[in-house]
């Protein structure tokens, strides 16, 4: 990365969104999309950090940890997945990069509904705090899929947890709504839909999934809470568990497994920016993302393989989810041909984009195994599925966030980071994650059940290799996060447009002024 080392321009900083008026009250009351994005970054990073600490418990258990009660393990696994999926994977890209970039890329001063952005953040924080509150007092141990009868039996603060999930779902819904309306009404004069940067396309399309899934999920957990209170009703003790499972995956499959959509948008912009050339197939890319959004909605049954889906249903959903190979091929081809004969700045965002391509590719190919009818039935309730979800959470989602953060950090904070340290962190993270997750894939095909419910003899050495991998991941992420954090107090002011990119956000000063373009 081409840094220009110069004394920090305090005047520019003071006039930016980071400058005055400063103070807790101003940040609490703000409706500025950039401040909301930074607060989302803080809260989601907090959720991720808590999840990383909790993840040590199951790692110790697979290594034969001493005197650990099964109940503790159950609760840990439950909250770990809630934090990973509900509080990280789904909201992190829209919350952090979506809120920051969307108005800037459209040439707007703010989101279409500034107060609604603040609402998204507040509901997110409320949900997160309530969830952590139940964890600290009366934790729930049903597993994150909240199976009907297990929910009924749970002695924890189940009702409160459901309200936490309700607020988190509501936050997704409001975020998605805001994105859609902002893209429709916030575009600069003369900017058509086919002039939108890919990142904006990704968030626009993911907005539809957030609206649909967020609302359905929020309502479902209220029904579940009501059934828990009355022990009766749709999801009561006597209810068919398939009803809940189907609704649950109908709501969550699109946003969870297709959280790749905003990631693809971000990585497309990063690749085309670093290669200093326009994407070779803009319309191909847009079409692929639209197709993926459609497939996201109709392929929910693929998460029911091995969970009680009928044999005929297995064939139908196998076919529907395999449709995704076509957009996946178009996307990967466009990336490769954009890189081909480019003039590529090999900086940290390139490493994280490569991490995204590798991890999203692995998650999709593991999905290919699960979508094959006969293999889906055998692997659908094993560690194989957990490994696929881990590749989405720790792999694709995290890599897309880090690629985006390293690409736009100079714009967001007006500071340059140390590129070499970031790349060392990236290598540690990529190496460690695959060392951690490939043994879990192997444990899956050997038949170890998905929630670490038992250890098949002979898999202990796999668990050992995996935990060594996690050590590398934790070190890598610590290096990356530390490297970004120290820039806040650093003196390296960033250029206005370090990558020579052409999208609108690079035309404003770094960090952007309060009202962006004036």
């Amino acid at each position: 990365m081409e840094n220009v080392t110069q004394p920090a321009d305090n005047e520019a900083l003071r006039r930016s969104f980071l400058g005055a008026p400063d103070g807790v009250a101003e940040w609490f009351q703000t409706t500025d999309h950039k401040r909301i994005s930074l607060m989302f970054l803080g809260w989601t990073a907090g959720a991720f950090l808590l999840m990383m600490i909790m993840a040590i418990v199951p790692i110790m258990k697979t290594l034969g940890g001493p005197g650990m009660s099964t109940r503790l393990l159950l609760e840990t696994l439950t909250y770990q997945r809630f934090l990973q999926v509900i509080a990280w994977l789904v909201p992190v890209l829209p919350g952090v990069l979506g809120f920051f970039l969307l108005p800037l890329q459209l040439g707007a001063a703010n989101m279409a509904f500034p107060a609604l952005s603040r609402c998204s953040l507040r509901f997110y924080v409320l949900g997160l705090v309530l969830m952590i509150g139940t964890l600290g007092t009366f934790p729930v141990g049903t597993g994150w899929t909240l199976d009907t009868q297990l929910s009924q039996l749970d002695p924890g603060a189940f009702g409160v947890l459901m309200f936490a999930l309700f607020f988190l779902g509501l936050s997704w819904f409001l975020t998605g709504l805001n994105f859609i309306v902002t893209v429709h009404h916030g575009r600069r004069e003369g900017m058509g839909f086919f002039d939108l940067p890919m990142t904006a396309w990704g968030f626009y399309l993911y907005g539809y999934l957030l609206v649909a899934s967020g609302l359905v999920f929020a309502i479902l957990v209220l029904y579940l809470a009501a059934s828990w209170v009355t022990t009766d009703g749709m999801f009561g003790w006597l209810a068919d568990p398939m009803l809940w499972r189907t609704y649950f995956w109908f709501a969550l499959r699109p946003v969870v497994f297709f959280s790749l959509i905003p990631g693809v948008g971000i990585v497309s912009d990063v690749i085309s920016g670093l290669a200093r050339k326009p994407s070779t197939g803009y319309r191909t890319m847009v079409g692929s993302l639209i197709a993926l959004t459609g497939i996201a909605v109709i392929s929910y049954g693929a998460s029911l393989f091995g969970q009680g889906l009928s044999p005929a249903g297995g064939l139908v959903f196998s076919f529907l989810s395999l449709l995704a190979v076509v957009p996946a091929a178009l996307i990967s081809f466009t990336w490769l041909s954009t890189l081909y004969r480019g003039s590529i700045t090999c900086a940290a965002p390139a490493n994280f984009s490569l991490a995204f391509i590798l991890h999203a590719g692995l998650a999709s190919l593991l999905g290919l195994f699960l979508a094959s009818p006969v293999l889906g039935r055998y692997l659908g309730a094993t560690m194989f599925v957990s490994a696929q979800l881990d590749y989405l959470v720790w792999g694709a989602g995290t890599a897309a966030l880090l690629a985006g953060l390293h690409y736009w950090w100079p714009k967001m904070m007006g500071r340059s980071y140390n590129n070499d340290v970031a790349r060392i962190g990236a290598v540690l993270y990529i190496f460690g994650l695959n060392l951690a997750l490939i043994p879990r894939v192997l444990m899956g095909s050997k038949g170890v059940p998905q929630d670490l419910a038992g250890i098949v003899p002979g898999s202990l050495h796999l668990a050992e290799i995996s935990s060594l991998g996690w050590l590398f991941v934790y070190c890598g992420l610590a290096v990356v996060a530390g490297n970004l954090l120290v820039t806040v107090w650093g003196k390296d002011a960033a250029e206005r447009n370090p990558w020579g990119a052409t999208t609108l956000e690079w035309t404003v000063p770094s960090p952007p002024p309060d009202d962006n373009f004036s």
Partner: protein, 326 residues
């Protein structure tokens, strides 16, 4: 097929006829998708290194279109991969759903902390014993929460859902013991239910069936009586706690005196109980209807003796009377 490599790194040993149906498609998809990943990520790495920004490069590179021919080939390859994955093992998928004719029927119930396997002759065990080469058809139910019947060595993975009956079948091809687990933490038991399939040779299996078929082996006479009480349908009409259901309760019967419908007074001794089992409607206790099924030909003398011993344990006069009887 590509998947003929050493499978042991990925899968448990082949112990059932389902194993090739799962393992071969797995390895075919594995090889093909590994190639796809290596090509895609490999090209990205190569391009990143080859087309590094050089001094003197223009600020922006010229726009380019996708190469239509290459793109077509690339998409076609991906579609073939999808179609390949879909059709691969389709026959095995269907075969896993339809149990062969003549399979041994075994009922499986997952319940608080244990598995119950019920064989055609009514024997219930907590490990699943099967005969090599003989298919078994499992009918799965759960007494509490949703569970999974997971037998990795047999490549059997079947959810068990409350309020539903699901099915699975397999045929072992190897002798040995193979783990079964439930794949779900139960909120009731706080643990995964673990047991095993014990696959036996035909001779061993027959010996085992004969052994469990002999209800007297390893049981006292009273225990055999209790088993027969549960198995032969007695418990439908005769309670053990003094409550009157259809027939008189078995509590405090042995050694007591009763008035019959014909006005006689009888003592419920060995001879009367034996008569009441074989020809129950000849001498009926006052206040009851002559509606019991005669058990003549269904129970032999030794089994009736066992039931009498069981009734003695339920009666206040049973102990003393039993002493006199001997």
């Amino acid at each position: 097929m590509i998947g003929s490599a050493n499978l042991s790194a990925w899968f448990p040993e082949w112990a059932s006829t389902h194993a090739p149906d799962v393992d071969v498609p797995f390895f075919d998809i594995y090889v093909v998708s590994a190639c796809a990943l290596v090509v895609t990520v490999g090209l990205a790495v190569v391009f990143l290194r080859t087309y590094r920004r050089q001094d003197g490069d223009p600020d922006r590179m010229p726009a380019q279109g996708n190469n239509k021919l290459l793109l077509g080939v690339w998409v076609l390859a991906a579609v073939s991969l999808g179609v390949y994955a879909f059709q691969l093992g389709l026959a095995g998928y269907v075969a896993q759903d339809v149990a062969p004719y003549g399979a041994t029927e075994i009922g499986v119930t997952a319940r608080e902390g244990r598995w119950d396997f019920t064989y055609p002759d009514g024997t219930v065990t907590d490990t699943l014993r099967v005969e090599v080469g003989q298919p078994v058809h499992l009918t799965l139910t759960t007494a509490d929460v949703a569970q999974n019947l997971s037998i990795p060595a047999m490549r059997v993975q079947q959810p068990i859902l409350p309020g539903r009956t699901t099915e699975a079948w397999f045929e072992t091809i190897a002798v040995g013991s193979f783990p079964i687990h439930s794949g779900t933490f139960s909120a009731l038991t706080q643990d995964s239910l673990a047991t095993a399939v014990i696959s036996l040779s035909t001779a061993d299996y027959d010996a085992w069936v004969a052994a469990v078929g002999d209800i007297f082996a390893g049981r006292t006479m009273a225990e055999v009586g209790e088993l027969l009480y549960n198995q032969q349908g007695c418990k439908a009409c005769h309670s053990l706690d003094g409550a009157t259901v259809v027939g008189p309760s078995f509590k405090n019967v042995y050694g007591f005196e009763f008035l019959t419908t014909s006005g006689e007074t009888i003592t419920a001794d060995d001879a009367y109980i034996k008569e009441s089992i074989l020809t129950p409607n000849v001498s009926v206790i006052d206040g009851f209807q002559p509606v019991m099924t005669p058990y003549a030909g269904k129970l032999d003398d030794r089994e009736i003796e066992a039931i009498i011993e069981f009734l003695k344990t339920l009666s206040e006069r049973g102990h003393a009377a039993g002493q006199e009887g001997k």
